[in-house]
Every structure is written in C-alpha cells, then in structure tokens.
C-alpha cells in the first residue's frame, strides 16, 4: 500500500508487486500514439533493422499536425505514412480531418483507465483525463517500441494538487490550470506525475478535465492523472474498445509535494508571452489589441468550448481589424457543433471555420501570424515563434475569452463585453 497512481500502474505494467520513485522499469504500452511524425519514426525504425512492427494492434496513428497537407512536402509525408499503415496492417489509423490525436484517442475509446498510452508528442499527458498513464516520448523511443515492444521509464515522484470549492461563474478549467502553473512555475512538475484531486475537479465535465491533464505538460509533467469516476465510466460506455480496470492511488500514498487551492478565489487568467507560467489576471490585460483570435487545439476546442464561444458571439461580429480562426478538435465535435448551430453562429460573426487538426498552433498553417502581430489563443503554448515568427506574441486564455476578445478587438472577458466593444 501507500503508493501513488504512477507507482501502482508502472508496477502493474512491469509485473512487479510495487515500485518506488527513481526505479527504472521496462514496460509495454497499451497504446503507441504517433501522428505526422510517423514517417520520420519509420525511418528510424528501418535504421534499427525493423521490418515488421512488434504489434500492429498497439498503434494509434492520427494525422493532425498539418492537415490537409499545406505543401507538397507535407503531402509526401502523409503519403509515406499511409503506405506504412497499409504495409504493416495497422487498423487504428485516422487520416486527415479526423482531429487532433489527443482528442481522437479519447473519443475512440483507446485511452482507458488503468492503461498506458505512450505518444511521440509532448501533450500525451492529456490521456490521463481518463485515468490512463499518458506520457510523451521521442521519435527514436517510439521506433524502439515498434521494434521491440518495450521502453524504459523512470518511476516518477508524484505531486498531488487538490482543488477545493467551486469555480465562480465565467471561470473555467483553463483559468484554473493557468492559475496553478502561474503559481507553481513551468518546472514545478518536472519528471513528475501530477494528480488532480478535490471537489472542484469532481464537479468538472470530462471535457473540462482534459484541459488540466493537457496543460500539465506545461509544468514539465511526465504524466497527469484524474481519478476515474461515474462521469468517466459514462463517457466510455459506448466508446471503450476494451474492458478496463481503473487504478487509484492509495489513500496513504506518499507525495513529493501536496498543494491545495480554493477554486472560489480564482478569476479569469491569461498566460502572457513567451512562457506559459507568465500568467496574469485578465483584468490586468483588458484592452490590449489583438490581430487574431484562435479557438482551437487539443486544449480547448471541444463541444463545450465551442458552445461557450458561440454563446458570446451570437448576434455579434468579429471586430474590424481583427480576424478569428475556429478549428474544432475533431470531426465528431465539428459535426455536433454544426447540428447545434454553433458553426453558423461563427460564420455569421465573420469567423473562419477550418477542418479539424492542429492548425496554426505550432506554426504550420491556417493562421500564421505576421511580424508584430498579437494573437489570443485557446491553445496550450505561447512560446516565441510558436505561431510562425519570433516577432509575434501569443496570449493564452479560455474559449469564452478568446471569443469576447475577437468581438472587442482587444483582450476582454464576456462580462466586460458591453463596455469594451469599440
């Protein structure tokens, strides 16, 4: 007993009775997630002498980083991946347009309680929203898993974040996670397993919880975990591709650090250029002009995010001199948003709606910034140059703040929209 989630799941996967932080274990993941980098991984796999992958059933391959292909080079990259998928008889392949990989593995019931998802993408921490152990790895490491089916992991120390109370109206899980990272710093979870507990977490929907495990990567976390509950089970009811057994930390588990917050004191927050822990209350930034508003990414472009933005934008218009790009996180969300009328609201408001994928998040296409421009974005990273040029600035906020700022032409919250509209 007295073990954290990470210690328990890694012991389980390594076939050991227990593990302790610092111990190195070798495990076989339940899901090996890769995206547009699959072609590069295949190159490494071949150099390792790989011919047939260890287990085609383990793979989930989702094209999302530059989709549909913006250039011939990107198109060629996708072509190589399709060929690989065909040759290796990989069934869980989701071609361009299905959505951002982290959202897709959840929707497809591949990220399951008590399972391990290793992905060649840093935001694989996202998978922890379902009570899985999700960790990002490098390309060579993914190639090694394809070859021998195993990878070494260091059993991490764990941080327990307990959120008491209730979030005030107009304050979201994005504000919460930005507040926590602003308080603890971009390296507070380095090499660690970050667990989220408390009644404020229990009160969140599965979609809102995903923001926490997604953005936990920005505090350096190895993985992030939310204890599965009835909401998790209900979400998975018609989705789970296998039966699963949740793993919970022991009540007397030993944590390297325990931090507690009162949700009721948190206000709308914004992460300022050029680090995610450079967080300020939105009230300090009100009125800062924005050239582009971006509502998208695996962080905050699910149905409830689009609903919150559509509510703000209904009957309103994007400000003159500002543009807005909306990219639903998946095709399922896109369809549901269409049926709910949100897409129509965005179009009527003068926003652009693009096909599901990562879009401009890491500077590939569909909304790159010009020199000197400022963006407000619902994404998880605001690093210098991230959206194309180092001479631009990215502010991170919740979907309703992104929508309100698009309408005002400057950073604002829906609650101030009447006064802040030009």
């Amino acid at each position: 007993m007295n073990h954290t989630f990470a210690e328990k799941i890694l012991a389980d996967k390594a076939g050991l009775s227990e593990t302790v932080p610092g111990q190195i274990v070798e495990i076989t993941p339940d899901v090996a997630l890769s995206h547009d980098n699959t072609a590069a991984i295949q190159g490494i796999f071949k150099r390792m002498g790989g011919v047939k992958v260890f287990n085609p059933q383990m793979h989930a391959i989702i094209l999302d980083h530059a989709t549909p292909a913006p250039t011939t080079k990107h198109a060629e990259n996708h072509r190589v991946i399709r060929e690989f998928v065909r040759d290796q008889k990989i069934e869980r392949f989701y071609d361009v347009g299905r959505g951002v990989c982290h959202q897709v593995v959840v929707e497809e019931g591949l990220s399951l309680p008590g399972e391990v998802v290793l992905g060649s993408d840093s935001h694989t921490t996202h998978a922890g929203v379902m009570g899985a152990f999700g960790a990002g790895i490098g390309r060579s490491e993914m190639a090694s898993i394809w070859a021998v089916g195993k990878l070494w992991l260091r059993v991490p120390e764990s941080v327990k974040i307990i959120i008491h109370g209730t979030l005030p109206p107009g304050v979201t899980s994005k504000d919460l996670v930005l507040y926590v990272i602003g308080d603890l710093g971009a390296d507070a979870g380095l090499y660690m397993s970050v667990e989220w507990h408390g009644e404020a977490i229990e009160a969140l929907t599965v979609s809102q919880r995903a923001v926490l495990t997604n953005v936990a990567a920005e505090m350096g976390a190895k993985n992030s975990y939310i204890p599965p509950d009835q909401k998790t089970v209900a979400y998975l009811e018609h989705r789970a591709q296998r039966s699963y057994t949740p793993i919970y930390p022991d009540p007397d588990a030993h944590y390297a650090r325990i931090v507690e917050y009162d949700a009721s004191t948190i206000e709308p927050m914004v992460a300022c250029p050029h680090t995610v822990d450079n967080v300020k209350p939105l009230s300090d930034l009100r009125g800062l002009p924005v050239d582009q508003a971006f509502l998208g990414t695996c962080t905050n472009a699910r149905l409830d995010d689009l609903a919150a933005a559509a509510e703000v934008m209904k009957g309103r218009h994007v400000a003159a001199g500002t543009r807005m790009v909306v990219i639903p996180a998946s095709s399922e969300i896109y369809r549901d948003a269409l049926q709910a009328g949100y897409i129509e609201t965005f179009i009527n408001a003068g926003a652009m709606v693009e096909s599901p994928g990562c879009g401009p998040c890491m500077g590939n296409h569909m909304g790159i910034l010009a020199v000197g421009e400022v963006a407000i974005s619902s994404a998880n990273r605001n690093f210098q140059g991230r959206m194309g040029t180092r001479e631009s600035e990215i502010y991170l906020a919740s979907p309703s703040v992104v929508a309100a700022s698009a309408v005002a032409g400057s950073i604002t919250h829906p609650r101030y929209l009447k006064e802040d509209r030009q």
């Binding site: 390296d187 190895k222 890491m362 690093f383």
Partner: protein, 168 residues
C-alpha cells in the same frame, strides 16, 4: 569521448524546444545534417554561425521544455556540440539527448560558476566538470540506461537488441 573540452554558450531558464528547433521546420526538414542549420534559430542567431565542435551549452533550469520534437536534440548533436550542462532538463528533451548519445548533465553548482565564453573540460569517466572557478561533480547516469549511452544511442542499442531477438 570521455573528455570533452570546449567553449561555453551560456543561456537562461526555461529555454523551450520551439526556440531550439522551430515548429515550422518539423515536417519540411528531415535530413539531420540540415537540422543543424536551424539550431537555436529563435534563441541565438549567432549560434549556427560560430559554433565549433565540442562546444558546450550551459543553461539554467528546465532546458528543452515544451514540445517532444527530437530534432531539438538532433540539431545540437549534428552541430557537433560536445555536451549540455543545465540545472535541470525538460524530461523528453533529456531522454532524446540520452538516446542520441549527447551528454546532458545536471549540475547546478557548475552552472552558477561557469562564465559565458570560457573553455571548460568535462570528464565523463570521473563525473567532473572543470572551469576557471573550480571542479564540480555531476551525478552519473542511472546504470539501467547506461547501456543505451554506451551503445552510441538508442538506434544502435535497439539494433543489437533486435538482432539478439531474431537469433533466438
């Protein structure tokens, strides 16, 4: 190999992989040699013009945080960088360095003492860093993963492993 002597490029805290290797090149540049041309492009434009074999990056906390892109380690390896010493590393970057057999060493005391531009010596066998201010010790790699480093990286390591499996 066990002695690395080079000039220091000193940087601050929380340097992320987007400024080490910009995202816009991640699917357009695939040749490792070419990756070196963009190393630290959004952090220090002087780097690619002036870096010499065995030069050493010395950084604050959380060097290599952010995206998992392995090119961030590859572009530095291909720049013929000798090693990186930091107070701490982003965990995926750290693993990527180990897997590329690029020494990534954690030593806060040495980081505080080392001056930008000075020439320092790292002895991987004895686990020491020597600069003008003195000699500092760094913790060795965990034994369980030393094999990867000694094999010259994860590619040759897995290659041997695969060969062993197929011989069985």
């Amino acid at each position: 190999m066990s002695i690395i002597k080079g000039r220091v490029w000193k940087y601050g805290d929380d340097v992320n992989t987007d400024v080490i290797f910009p995202g816009k090149y991640t699917y357009t540049v695939s040749d490792p040699k070419e990756m070196a041309k963009y190393a630290l492009e959004d952090l220090d434009p002087r780097f690619t013009k002036e870096v010499k074999p065995n030069d050493i990056i010395v950084a604050g906390k959380n060097w290599g945080c952010g995206s998992s892109r392995e090119q961030a380690a590859t572009c530095l390896k291909e720049s013929a960088l000798g090693a990186i010493i930091a107070q701490s590393f982003g965990r995926i970057f750290y693993r990527n360095c180990l897997n590329a057999a690029l020494p990534a060493l954690t030593c806060s005391e040495a980081v505080a003492a080392i001056e930008n531009g000075e020439t320092i010596t790292i002895d991987l066998t004895s686990g020491t860093i020597t600069c003008q201010a003195g000699t500092y010790e760094f913790p060795p790699l965990p034994e369980a993963v030393m094999g990867i480093f000694e094999a010259g990286g994860l590619v040759p390591y897995t290659q041997k492993r695969l060969e062993a499996i197929s011989k069985r």
